[in-house]
C-alpha cells in the first residue's frame, strides 16, 4: 500500500484504490481538520451555515468538508469579526474541514460588475452601495481570516459560453493572479491554496493553463470555468483533458458539479472533489433526490403517498416521515425544507460512498452500469454525452 504523498505542509493524499479500467480513484485526503475520503461531494453552506440544518446534523450525516463563500462572508459579517471568533470554524462551530472559494464566481453571477482589470475585480456592494475592489491579495487576506482548510485562488472568471480573446486574456490573468495569491498566503502551513485551471472550452488554452499552473507549487488543483451552461459534449472533454495532465498525487476538484450523473461520469474521468448548490437548493424548492431522478413532493400527486421518499434510504427523514406528510408540511412549514435538505445531503453523500466502495472493491464498472440503468429507464434514454464520456475511459454500458 502506497504511503501518502505530501502535497503541501497542510495536505497529503493517499491513493487507496484505482479502477483498472477508467481513471476513477478512491483516495484519503489528510487536511488540518481531519481526513476526508474521496471521491467526495461537498455541500455548500454559503453564509456560514448549511441552510436550515445544524452543524451537528451535518456532521451526523457523515459530512467531513463543506463550503463557505468568501464573497458573502467577506461582506457580512466581515473578516475582522470572523477572525475574532476564531475563524469560520469557530464562528459557525464546525470542527470538520472547510473550503472557501475566492469570491470570484459571485463576481460574475451575482454582482453589478463595474470592471475587471489586472488589479482585481471592482464591484458595487449590494448592501451599502459602496465600491469595492477585490484583488488576489484581498481575497487571500479574507480567506486567511476565515481560516479555511482549502482556499481557492482568485481567478478571472468568464462565462463558459463565451468565446474570443477575452477567454484567453482571463486564462493568462488567472495564472498571474495565482502567483499573487501564492505570495499573499500568510498561512501556508495551515491553509491549502488550490489553483483553478481556466481556458474556457478551448483545448489549447486549457493545455497551456495546465502547463503553467502545474509549475507552481500548490497542494491541489481545481477545474474551473465549467458548469455554466456549456454543452455537455464540451464539458466532459475539458474535464478529461485536465485529469490526463494533472498530477496523480494531488487532489482534483471539479467546481460546481453536483447532479448525480455528472458526478459518476466525472469520477470515472478522474476527479476527486465536487461541490454544488443544487441538492440543497432543490430541497428548499420541494424536490427530493432519489436514485431514479427526483420527486417534487410539493406536487399534488404525493398528497396521499404514504411511502418514505426512498425505501432504501436510511437518512433521518426517510426513517420517520412519508412523502404525504412532507407534502402537507411543505405548504407552510420551514421544517419541510429542513427535512428535504437532510435527505438530499444524505443522498449525495451516500452516492459518493457507494461510488467509493465500488472503486475500492474493484467493481466500479458494474456500479456505473447499475447506476445508469436505475437513473434512466431504458438505454435509449442514456444521455449521449455520458455514454461517450464513459466509453472514452473504457466504461461501456450495454
Amino acid at each position: 500500500m502506497a504511503s501518502p504523498s505530501v502535497s503541501g505542509p497542510a495536505l497529503s493524499l493517499r491513493v487507496v484504490a484505482e479502477c483498472g479500467l477508467s481513471k476513477a480513484r478512491a483516495c484519503e485526503l489528510w487536511l488540518p481538520h481531519g481526513p476526508v475520503l474521496s471521491p467526495v461531494f461537498m455541500p455548500v453552506g454559503t453564509q456560514g451555515t448549511m441552510k436550515g440544518i445544524t452543524a451537528r446534523q451535518l456532521e451526523g450525516l457523515g459530512c467531513r468538508i463543506c463550503l463557505g463563500n468568501t464573497y458573502h462572508l467577506g461582506m457580512r459579517p466581515g473578516p475582522e469579526l470572523i477572525k475574532q471568533a476564531n475563524g469560520l470554524h469557530g464562528f459557525m462551530n464546525w470542527q470538520q474541514n472547510l473550503l472557501t472559494d475566492s469570491g470570484g464566481f459571485q463576481m460574475v453571477s451575482l454582482v453589478e460588475l463595474s470592471e475587471v482589470t489586472e488589479e482585481g475585480v471592482r464591484f458595487r456592494s449590494p448592501y451599502d452601495g459602496e465600491e469595492i475592489l477585490l484583488t488576489p491579495e484581498k481575497s487571500i487576506e479574507i480567506q486567511n481570516a476565515l481560516g479555511s482548510d482549502i482556499m481557492m485562488q482568485l481567478d478571472d472568471v468568464v462565462s463558459s459560453t463565451l468565446t474570443g480573446p477575452r477567454v484567453e486574456e482571463a486564462m493568462y490573468r488567472s495564472i498571474r493572479w495565482l502567483d499573487r495569491c501564492i505570495a499573499a498566503n500568510s498561512r501556508p502551513d495551515k491553509q491549502n491554496l488550490f489553483a483553478i485551471i481556466q481556458g474556457g472550452l478551448d483545448p489549447a488554452l486549457r493545455t497551456k493553463c495546465l502547463e503553467e499552473m502545474m509549475q507552481r507549487d500548490v497542494p491541489g488543483f481545481a477545474i474551473g470555468g465549467l458548469s455554466g451552461g456549456e454543452a455537455k459534449d464540451h464539458f466532459w472533454r475539458v474535464v478529461t483533458l485536465s485529469t490526463d495532465r494533472l498530477p496523480r498525487e494531488k487532489p482534483r476538484y471539479l467546481m460546481g458539479v453536483g447532479y448525480a450523473t455528472d458526478l459518476v461520469v466525472c469520477v470515472a474521468l478522474g476527479c476527486d472533489m465536487f461541490d454544488c448548490v443544487f441538492p440543497t437548493r432543490t430541497a428548499r424548492f420541494g424536490s427530493a433526490l432519489v436514485p431514479w431522478g427526483s420527486l417534487p413532493v410539493k406536487n399534488k400527486q404525493f398528497a396521499k403517498d404514504f411511502r418514505p421518499i426512498d425505501e432504501n434510504c436510511d437518512c433521518p427523514t426517510c426513517h420517520r416521515y412519508s412523502r404525504a406528510f412532507l407534502h402537507a408540511l411543505f405548504r407552510s412549514e420551514t421544517a419541510a425544507m429542513h427535512l428535504l435538505t437532510v435527505h438530499n445531503i444524505a443522498y449525495q453523500l451516500n452516492l459518493m460512498r457507494s461510488i467509493r466502495e465500488s472503486i475500492v472493491e474493484q467493481r466500479f464498472l458494474q456500479f456505473v452500469r447499475d447506476f445508469m440503468r436505475t437513473m434512466y429507464s431504458g438505454q435509449e434514454r442514456y444521455p449521449l454525452w455520458a455514454v461517450e464520456a464513459l466509453a472514452s475511459v473504457n466504461i461501456t454500458l450495454e
Binding site: 441552510k51 459579517p77 471568533a85 462551530n93 404514504f306 427523514t317 420517520r320 421544517a335
Partner: protein, 412 residues
Amino acid sequence: NRVKILVSGCRLGTLTNLGKNGVQTMELPGCLLYTKTGSPPHLTHDTLQAIEGVPAVVQLTLSTLVELHEVLEEYKAGIGKFIGMPESVLYCSLHDSSTPCPPGYNSNKTVSIWGYGGRMEMTASKFMSMQRALQPDWLQCLSDGDTISGETSRKRAKKSVDRSLSFLDECLQLQEKSPELQGSMMVGVIEGGDVLEERLRSARETAKRPVGGFLLDGFQGQAMAKETKLKLMASVTAELPEDKPRLIHGIGKPDEVLECIERGVDVFESFFPYQVTERGCALSFSYDYNPDPEAAVLEQNGIQDAGKNGIEKDINETSKADPEITSFEIFLKEKRYRDDFGPLVHGCTCYCCQNHSRAYVHHLLVTNELLASVLLMMHNFQHYFSFFHSIRDALRDDRLDQLKELIFRQAL
C-alpha cells in the same frame, strides 16, 4: 391522576395513564409542545430530540390540520403516526393561538375554523368525522369561544355557553358511536365571556358531562380587564372537580402563567416561545429563585438587556424590534450583539447556547438564514420548558412567592 392542592389555589401533581399505551405521564403545572401542521415550528425530529424537557403531550391544532381530512381518512392510522410522533400523547385544539380568528362567524350549529385554504364551517358531525381520522388522545370539544373581540353582550355570552353545551352533548353522543375514538378523552370547554353567571353555569353544566378535562376558553386577548379575567378564572376552577386537568389557551407570558396557576389552571400552550422566535428574539428571563449569592448570573443575562430597555436607536438598524417584544426576551438583531461571543443566556444548557454565540445568531438573523429560527426555537422551547420545571420545583419547595417576585420584577 394524582393532583394535590397547595396553598393559594395552586395545584401540583401528575396526570398518569396517558397515551395509546396508557404509560405516559404529565407533570402539572405544565405546558404542551406547540406544533403547526403536526410539526414543532422549524424543527425536525433530530433537532427536537436535542431539546431538554420536551413535554409529554403534544398540541395539534385543527386549523392547521383540517385540509388533511381526506388524506387522513385514507391513511387510517391516525395523526400521530402520520406526523412521525407515534409515541406521543396528542391533544387537538380547535384554533392556533398564534393566529387570532376573525370574530362573528359562529352560528348555533357551526363553528368556523381558519385553515390554510380559508374558512371552514364545522358542524358537530363534520368535526367528529375529522377527529375520527385524527384519533387524538385528548380533544377540545367543538365550542363557541367568540367572546374575545371587544365588548361582548350578556346575550352573546349566554349563547357561547348554550352552543358549547349543545356541541358537547352532540359530540359525546357521536364519540360513543365511534370505535376510533374510544380511547380519546373529551375536553369540555367552559365559555361565558366576562359574565360571572354564565361562567358558573358553563362550569357546572360542563362538569356534569363525562369529560376528562376542562378548557377555560375566552380568556385570551385583551378584551377583558385583567382583574375581571383573574376573578372569573378563580370562580370557574372552584366549580371544577379536583382530579381533572384544567387547560387554558392563549396565555403564554411568564407572569400571566403564574397568575393562572394561582387560580387553579394546570396546562398551558407553548406558542409563546414560538412567537418570540418569530420576532428574532431569545427568551432570557431568569426563573432561578435560588440564585447563587454572587447573583452575577442575573446581571450577566442583563435584566437591563431585556425588552424595551436599552434598545439602541441606530440609524443603520435595518429592522426594528417587533412592538410585541416583551421584557422577558432579548432582540438579537441589535447591533450590540454583533460581536458578543457569549451564549444567548449564560448558564443555559440548550444546544444553541452550548454550541453557538449571540454573534453567530445575530449574523444568521442579519443574513436572513433559516438556521436562525432553528436555533432560536431550540433555545426558546428549552428555556420555556425549564421555566415550567422551576414552577413545579418552587411549588414543591414552597418557594412560589420567591419565583413570583423574581418573575414579576422582570415583567416591567
